[in-house]
Symmetry: C2
Subunit: 236 residues, 2 copies
């Protein structure tokens, strides 16, 4: 029998819905600013603010809340009322308190893989928020290790693999973001299973290289993962 | 020779100044709201908001920023201007971009202990902010492990010690907060070295039990730490 594969999972939009909650908040945000600017301008300015603030705030809902307030003040040239800012804070709080909705197949796939493989959760965002979502998801017991990180680049993945004594060629990362979940792991010599979500934050959008690297796999749903893991294990 | 002690260090107000930066921000916050309320009311209301929001936001500057905006809207009954809220955001951004000022003796003490002991950094706050401060501090290379956590209670310390295979009776935690750094570790059977900072966030203030537990030590400065570690090591 082949040595067990270590499998890393992204969380937001891989195991549970996230971007759909942001999308609903964006809709209400556009509505709030509709008498000042059209939706495209609001979206573009908010994204620019978020990207400018990423270095200082990091990923997550709290940084989004602060950027949304800053953008609203800018787009209204200071005319936004305190009551409207209170509504923006309330919108963010709703996101933080939102129930966790698992993606189709997430629970079953983890249950199938956990007995024979070491599963890692590797996610970025606000520490408290990610911990709360993991707890609420009911999936925590499936993971041998939980890594909440401030960035997902090759250095960060390399440090995680080193810490847990996982050889990159025995590591498969599963996620919805080519940029954060797949490309950095392929660069280290690991494998990547891309499971797209139907929505994606504009900041995370990258193109796949025209020639897909070896050890890159695209899945329609997490339900296809156990078969892929079996195939990868049989390769060795 | 005794087995090496593993030594955990808190970061904010233990290795580098933090509360003095918050204190200067509080002064400017009180000034901003001075035409609405006296300083004591402002402080009390802000602390109540922060404590109410801790569960949702966790520790750190971004949560503080959001709570300070919420409090200002409440205390002005919605009369605060967007320009003033912009100033509040700017205040928070200054905190996040603030240079790291090491406490007296921090660098020398870590340099003295690192060769013979396993040093851990155990801190709470925003992930990105704590990582940036550690990088800027120049102290990162002294630590075998860095743990940024959302809460510091006995369960969290127990998980850290388990993860790194450290027996509690061979662990000493060093920090300025009895509540976060010392009492939870004493409860596990570890040792605690309390090095008070001259300022303390009201939320973190607890009284020491009248009868100090065994393995509790109070130091005036980090410079006294190497001698304490020698004494503890000799005990075994």
């Amino acid at each position: 029998m082949a040595a067990p594969y270590a499998i890393g999972f992204d969380a937001d939009d891989t195991l549970w819905h996230n971007e759909n909650i942001f999308e609903r908040v964006h809709e209400r945000y556009r509505a709030l600013l509709a008498h000042h600017h059209d939706a495209a301008t609001v979206d573009r300015t908010l994204l620019a603010t978020e990207q400018r603030n990423l270095e200082l705030y990091g990923y997550g809902v709290k940084g989004f809340m602060l950027s949304s307030i800053e953008t609203a003040i800018e787009l209204t040239q200071g005319k936004i009322s305190a009551e409207e800012i209170r509504q923006l804070i309330a919108l963010g709080r709703e996101m933080l308190a939102h129930p966790v909705e698992l993606l189709d197949g997430a629970a079953e796939t983890l249950a199938a893989l956990a007995p024979a493989h070491r599963l890692l959760l590797i996610t970025k965002g606000d520490l408290r928020d990610q911990e709360r979502k993991l707890t609420r998801s009911g999936l925590a017991a499936r993971f041998a290790h939980v890594e909440i990180v401030s960035e997902k680049d090759p250095d960060v993945y390399a440090a995680i693999l080193r810490r847990h004594a996982i050889a990159p060629e025995r590591f498969l990362m599963v996620g919805n973001s080519l940029k954060s979940d797949i490309l950095p792991v392929l660069a280290l010599g690991g494998a990547g299973a891309h499971v797209p979500y139907h929505l994606m934050w504009a900041h995370d959008q990258v193109e796949m290289p025209a020639v897909a690297p070896a050890r890159f796999f695209k899945l329609k749903t997490l339900r296809e993962l156990p078969d892929l893991v079996t195939t990868l294990g049989a390769e060795k």
